[in-house]
Symmetry: C2
Subunit: 291 residues, 2 copies
Amino acid sequence: MADLTEINYAQRERLAFIDFCLQFIGQLSRADLVNHFKTGLASCSRDLTLYKELAPNNMTLKHETKQYYRTAEFKPVYEHNAEAILASLCRGFGDGLSHTVRPSEKCIDSTRLIHPSSETIATLMRAINNRLAVSCDYISLTSGETSRIIVPHAIANNGQRWHVRAYDQKSKEFRDFVCTRLQNATELKKPISNTQSGNYDKEWHNILTIELVVHPSVSHPRAIEMDFGMDGGVLRLEVREALLGYLMRQWNVDCSHNATLTLGDCHLWLKNISELGKLACLTIAPGYKEG
Amino acid sequence: MADLTEINYAQRERLAFIDFCLQFIGQLSRADLVNHFKTGLASCSRDLTLYKELAPNNMTLKHETKQYYRTAEFKPVYEHNAEAILASLCRGFGDGLSHTVRPSEKCIDSTRLIHPSSETIATLMRAINNRLAVSCDYISLTSGETSRIIVPHAIANNGQRWHVRAYDQKSKEFRDFVCTRLQNATELKKPISNTQSGNYDKEWHNILTIELVVHPSVSHPRAIEMDFGMDGGVLRLEVREALLGYLMRQWNVDCSHNATLTLGDCHLWLKNISELGKLACLTIAPGYKEG
DNA sequence: CCACAAAGCAATCATTTTGATAGCATCATT
DNA sequence: AATGATGCTATCAAAATGATTGCTTTGTGG
């Protein structure tokens, strides 16, 4: 019997592709495999034969259409993670590096309107990995364009924008910068001072445990519980303090102390807000009032 | 000289990996390659040699650290799409099928709190591809649990949830259903009637051209223009009518006729709303009033 | 300052994987 | 019943890969 772990990289990819097509498309022809991997017919037959060995009851050939069909007894050979699958369907297969893409028109991801340049991302990621400072021009919403030197240690998406979390030499504190508002980012070769390293970013390293519950104003709470896979009506999450405000805004979580926000479409309430103390990050959160 | 298109699938993957590491991490060791692809040392040397042939000036070996470093003259061999790169950094490499994952802790995507089951997605996608109806139990926010037969034709993410767009035999119209609120989804084998096919979903096939502009209340509009890569202060988009409302809500676009919404953090205004006519989908959009 | 260890490199050969071809089987279509 | 399209298997040649060896470079520790 064939052992999954002993199969080489390329063939494993092809087997995974077969498995995927059966489960998420329902059928598969030899031509699909040949097209996708630019492989020969022979190796294609070999792959199908091997797949049949691994999972004899997963597919049957229908000669009417000359395609393999998923059977009702199908058991996936590979555990496909749901988010990864959806990404594959939306953006096509392949790892996004070599372009073996074939996006599905039937699976449409949310629209990202903000696309940082890959140059900027590359510079930031290299600086992060090599602990270097970056000089750049930054246009802020409040103060307009300024020249800055920042020491980045992570990048994060807040649901809309990609931010870089960095020590700002101008304000002498850790801040978020929107990646698309950076221009002329350049790595500075001299090593950074210790206090500017990510380890000293308190709000980043402070992990808060928050409790989200269905908002009392919702009339069929079960629907929301199912959305969030809630266990006993509560969703516990670990969140970096630096990112909490964004998360609350992204999910439109009522952050008032008594769930009094009545703005439409508010499905969640931050139940344990009173235990969290005063948090600057929450100033952008829906319904938040200090106290 | 080696020709990129003539290189086989497996080696192309490895070359892309080298290219990626140099550009987004800054360095790469032979061990990284071996680890990632579980390949032998020999083939690893071959890949590096070939990469040097393809791009002689992209990397240099530093013996101090025994790693290859990106040079200042680096020119990517593969065009990496920014979104794909960010996904690779956040979730690790590989196509999400075979798990060759190694996510970066320095690159954090926004938190998706709602994860549809891969079983449900699989059933829906198969039904879509094979034009089948699906029976299921659905829990709606307004009417609670009901049994339904729907004919799905696409799934889409609205920024928060995955929806399935489908003909609903109960209400006899096309609607959106939240994937996580579906239970016991089962394909029905009999073929669907023609009028229930996706082709007849008017709101889905009606493509609107919308014009988004920086909200007049923003004090440094250049920052927003850069975020959205605006051309002359306007961002023109083609959007399905069925998805327009979600898009407006996701990006918090002021949909009032005169940009009068003053709610904090509203960076965009839907400039041509007056030309779009009456749209039911906009009832959920910020600031929208009929008229 | 020299020996050593660690990593990279190049060459070689055995093994594995792949591609191409040919002949046969199956089944829908006509 | 003939035809054509596709799938299967077997075979052989070609290509890719893995393992081994001996060599080079360079940093490190004595």
